[in-house]
Structures are given as C-alpha cells and as structure tokens.
Point group: C2
Chain length 411, copies 2
C-alpha cells in the first residue's frame, strides 16, 4: 500500500510548496543588493505579520536561540526575573535565566494547566526585571493568558519587561503586542509560517531596547543591538540562512494572500484555521473516549491527548507511523508515554485533519488493547464528531475585527 | 481557511516527491554517457514494470502519441482493423485508424458498460489486421476484459495484432502481456507512474515488430523501429524530455521499493492499492445514495459516479474545488454534467481517500439541493462505509502470486 509520509507535529510542520520552491531557487550571496532587498522585504513583512510597530530582528538559529537572546540581552548577572511555567518550554526559560546568573522566581502550574494570575501577582516583586512566559506551551497543548499577565504588570506599575515565547503561539492565538504591552515576542520558522527550522525572530519594544543599554550579560552572536544596526542597512550581522529567508518571504506572501493582501488579517485567518481544525480534533478524540490533557485552556496549535489508563501513548504514535506514515508526537521528557500530541499550526487543512482522524479510528480498530480500553468504539464516532464541528463552525468575526484593528494600528 | 490544492484526477495524478526532486536535478545533455546510462536504466526498469520480455520504447509525447504510433506503424492504408470501444478513448482509436486510412470495424458498448466477447467474435474477420482496445476506459471508469479478447484472437487463429491502451490500466489492473498474447501495450507517464504528462511508452511483441517491416503508413517522429535502433545505443531518436525521464527513473525506483526491490511486485502492490482505495470510494458514494456509472465492471483506476437525477455533476466538481481545493473531474465531451470521476491510480493513499470522502460529505451538507436529492443523508454515512471496507480488506494473494510469476517469466 502507498503511504505518504505526513507530519502532524507541532514543529516542524508541513512545508508550503511555494516556500520550498523559493528555497530551492535561493542561490544568492548575502552581501549583495539582491539579498539586501530580500532581507528588508522579509523584515517588513514580519513586522506586519507580528502586527507591531516594533522592529523585528531575524536570527539564523532555532527558537531557543531567540529565547537565549531575550535573556542575555535583557538581564545582568544577579537580576531578579520571574518565570511562569507549566511545561517543558516554561522550564527552558528557567534554565536560560539561571545560565545567565539571574535570580529566578518561578510560578509553576501543573502540566496541562495554566498558572493563576493571583499567583503571578503574588510572585511579582518590585525588583523583578523581567517576566518570561509562553503564549502557548507546546509540550502540553495549553494556552496561557498573555493579556492577563500584561495587564497585571501594568496595574502593578512593574518595571519588568514582559517576554513572551510565541513560537507556537504566533498564528495560532490572537496576540496584540503593542496594545497589550508585551516587550519581546519570540517566533520561529518551523511553526505557523510553514518553513523548515533554522530561523527565529523577535519583535522588541522601545522599553526593551532601552534596557539593553544597561545590561551586561555576555552576548555576541545573539547581540540584538548589533543585529538591529545591521538590519537598518539591510544586512545580518553574521552569515544568514539565505534559503530559509527566501522561503520565509514566500510563506509570508502566501499568508498575506490568505488575508486578502494583508498580513495581520492573514495571521488572523491562520488562527481561525487552527481554531477550526483543533476543535475538530478535540471533538474527535473526546468522542472516542480519550481524555484531553488540557481541557480547560486548550491551545489551537496542538492537541495533547491522554492514552487510555495503563497504556503507553507511544503505541498510538507508533501505529499511526507504521500503518499510515502519519507522524504525530509523544509527550516530551518525563511526559513520554503519558500523552500524544497532534498539531494544527500552519499549513494544515480540513482534509489533513479529517484524514488523520480516520487513520486514528483504523489504529484503534486494529489494536485490540486500544479498542478494549475505549468502550463502545465503532467506526465513525470520531469522524462524525469532527464533521459536525466543521459544518457548524462560523468564522470568529470578533477575531477578524481585532486583526483589522491590529493592521491599522501597526501602520 | 487553508486549502491545499490536491488532484484527485485520473491523469495528471499526484506527483511523487522523489520524482519531483529528480526532475529538478536533471540538468543533463541527452547526447552524453550520463544520459545514455539513465536512459538504458529507465528502459530496463520499464520492461520490468510492464512485466514483459518485449522491448519497451519510450517516447516524448502524450499517451495519444503512442496510440498514434500503434496505428501508423502497424497499418497500411486500406487495412481492416477492429476497434472495441465504450467511451471517449475507444473512440480515439477509431479516429486514429480512420486518420491513417484504415477500414474500421467497431464493436461498441454503451458508456459505462464493457463490450460482449460474443460481439467481438462476430465482428472479427479473417482479414482483420489489428484489434485496438483499452484495458480500462478512463472516461467511464470501466475495466475491459483484455485476456478474454486475447484468448478469443488465439482461438480464432487471427493474424491480427492486439493493441491495448493501458495508459490508465498499467498499475491499476493485472495484465500479463506475454502470457496472454498482447502485441502492443501502451502506457503514459501522468498515471500510475506518478510523474507529470509528457512521456508515453509501448511494449512491442516480435509479431508487431515483424508487421512493421511491411506496413507503409507515413510516420517519422513516431517511427518505432527507428526509436528501437536508437534505444539499443542508449539514445532516443529525437531530443527527449530529459527531466521527465529522470523523474520516471526515480518513480520506478519507488515502485520497485514498494515491491521489495522488484518492479513487477511493485506494480502488483500498486494495483492492490488502487483496488483498496477504489473499493472504499465505491462503498462511500453508494452509501450516500449515489449510483455508480459502471457498477458491473468498475476499474480501480477511476470511479465514475452519477449525480442525483436532474442535477448537473459540475455542481459537485465545483463545490469540492471552491470549498476544499480538491480537484476531481467532470464527464468528458457529451458526458459533461452527467457524471463525476475520482481517481485512485498511482500516488494516492488511504489518507487522501478518506479525506476526500469527508469533503464530499461536507459538500452535500452545504448544498441543500444535493442533500435533498440524497434522502437520509447524515454525516458519517460515507466515511463509515469506507472505514469498514479498508478495515476488512485482505491483500489479494492470487494477484500477488501472479505478479511473482510475471517477474520470473519476464527474466
């Protein structure tokens, strides 16, 4: 039987063909007018995509590199910082801040939950210099309340910069960086922007740029001020991942086209798309009798699902791969075996989603232990639930209106 | 919403990525040792794929070009030929034979049916020089009885050469050219071999080669004997479609890998794949209340379906395209509006098939006239029928055994 390999993973995500073609064609030297034109265009597009007046810095590294830049550029050894964590990527903020000698306060929610704003308020100190959080926690499929945290910092008149890892959040959840008062927003390439890993980007507020004048943690490759200065000339400080940048330009063209020519609207359409297909997936797995790992505040980027009690989630990951070449992800780290995750961010459509649900039904049917653990299993249970969600879904007009405001405000 | 354009059409069919990469890399001149090595390898692979001891000739043209070659090389003006037709492609044989001055006898079955062997027997004359037919008729989704016709010619001790257009048949239905006594078998590139249009190939028996010594219809670009002579030196007579040939090599590598390294087994696996997913589709559309256009002898290559009475099939084609970017085909010529066709040949898998069935349900739900014309419509009807077919399907061991014999015999 033919089995096409398909990624249903929360990064890397499926590649946009137009971006693949642009990457294949990117035979450009990075110190030429040709590249400078490309680079300036992509930086301008990214600004529109983020929906911010702030400068956007593009770096050739994974998302973790940009997270590191948000620590090394914004802190000095001994600075007090607050990390809000509820999963593997929250813990990465803690590890980074410690690596750069910060005193780290932590508000921690159990995996699968989001933290309470009351706890954040209690943990915030006068001397807190920075707050680090995720928009969505990829390891657990939870959406955090970025606006809630931003409002809290404002009402507390905190001097802390708010740094948000939106690597899976951008293009899957609404974020208005300027209006809310987010100081650094971090994005990555292998996510909603539909290209391979290798690029990260940061939108940086004036307050954050000012902060960098005084901080003195060591940085060189990730020196944001140096990159900003070079970007003004249309160049990167060091050799950039040229092909990925060409691919990113093509992907942002595609996203703009989705938004009728406007990138902020295109991003809102991406969010809408992820909301729709994640709602299909949640309905499907719930109908089968699976429990959602994050039922209260589910991210649209990725759905995390618990295996039936006593079963290893790896069985489902493995069977989908071996029977259908469909690649989903297991839990990360100590969550391995305890959940499986299916992505919806970026270049996924209805047909991708309904087909994976069909394959999941086939895996349950063909795996007696799974069928036994999900009483009342029959073909169609998940598919019909998903079909009804898709058919009943109305576009979220409020979100589209917000995107329009964002587009106007950012101009 | 994201909508990925997907072809569910019976040629062109979805492209194999490995073939796309090979085409992109095919920067080769055609009068070099490098090309000769590629060409000889691909011709040898095609021979294995066809499963014949006969030489295979590869031509840079569409399938119709190879059909023309089968007429212009094998007939002389005034020759009596018999065409077996039950659709648009059968009619093309008639048009070709007339264009080359043949006297054409026709056995015609209504669209959606296959012809009766009794009628073929009655129409066969002592002076019939060639019999032209399809293995499967793409315009109606019907499978014809190639072995039945071959047996009939043998038992009638006919001197006619048997020419079979297997453009959609190769890789979707079992054909044993040498054992059955087929003289010319025609294939095309944009079909089960998963590459774009532009190449056609013919396996030619000794009897057919001998026939060409005496025939005198005009031919130049399509002169098969000239191509054969050049092929023995590893070249084509005229400038070949180099990139497509490189792509074909990569696709045949993939098909061989599907067959555990053997192309005849790989072809049998392709047939098995098409049989499985076409059975899913037939069950799905029947469960919805649609009537199959060719219920008696359905081809695995393509499923032709009647729209509800009084409705234009174009509605379904259009809605699948506009809502989901899923491309199926309408009827051809005067059948336009009267049926729609969904392909299964080549690079299609379970996920492709189940997803299109889901999209078809959504189209019915969203189109009141369609839902009204298919009483009792509800979500899941088609999906569950297809799920059960897939789950219950056992590999056809007889077909796989036959492929093994074919592989052994051709060596």
């Amino acid at each position: 039987m033919i089995r096409k390999t398909r990624l249903f993973t929360p990064g890397p995500t499926p590649l946009l063909p137009a971006a693949q073609f642009a990457m294949a064609a990117a035979d450009i030297h990075h110190r030429t007018p040709e590249f400078r034109a490309l680079y300036q265009r992509v930086l301008a597009q990214l600004k529109e995509f983020v929906g911010s007046k702030n400068d956007v810095i593009l770096m050739s590294c994974s998302g973790t590199g940009a997270m590191e830049a948000s620590v090394s550029n914004l802190t000095s050894p001994g600075d007090r910082v607050l990390v809000l964590t509820a999963g593997k990527f929250g813990e990465r903020w803690t590890a980074l801040a410690k690596a750069y000698g910060c005193q780290v306060d932590v508000v921690e929610a159990p995996y699968g939950k989001t933290f309470s704003l009351d706890e954040v308020r209690a943990a915030l100190k006068l001397e807190t210099r920075a707050v680090y959080m995720q928009a969505t926690e990829t390891s657990t499929g939870v959406r955090h309340d970025v606006k809630g945290v931003a409002d809290l910092l404002k009402s507390a008149k905190s001097e802390a910069v708010l740094v948000v890892d939106a690597i899976t959040g951008l293009g899957t959840t609404h974020i208005d960086m300027d209006a809310w008062g987010v100081d650094v927003l971090v994005g990555g390439s292998q996510k909603a922007v539909m290209i391979p890993p290798g690029l990260a980007y940061l939108a940086v507020s004036d307050k954050a740029w000012e902060r960098m004048e005084a901080t003195y943690n060591p940085r060189y490759y990730f020196d944001l001020r140096k990159e900003r200065k070079n970007a003004q000339k249309g160049e990167s400080a060091y050799t950039p991942a040229v092909a990925l940048i060409a691919g990113l330009g093509a992907a942002l063209d595609y996203i703009a086209a989705q938004g009728g020519g406007d990138l902020a609207t295109g991003r809102a359409q991406l969010v809408e798309n992820a909301e729709t297909i994640s709602a299909m997936m949640r309905a499907a797995v719930s109908a089968l009798g699976f429990k959602l790992f994050a039922p209260e505040s589910p991210a649209a980027a990725v759905t995390a699902v618990l295996p039936p009690e006593g079963m290893d989630s790896g069985v489902i990951v493995k069977e989908l791969k071996s029977r259908f070449a469909a690649v989903i992800t297991n839990g990360q780290g100590e969550m391995k075996g305890h959940l499986f995750r299916i992505a919806h961010l970026g270049y996924f459509d209805y047909l991708d989603t309904i087909s994976l649900i069909g394959a999941l039904e086939q895996v349950i049917y063909a795996t007696p232990a799974l069928a036994a653990a999900l009483p009342g299993f029959e073909f169609g249970k998940a598919l019909v639930a998903a079909q009804k969600v898709f058919a009943g879904r109305k576009p979220n007009q409020a979100a589209l209106d917000a995107a329009e405001q964002l587009a106007v405000a950012a101009k």
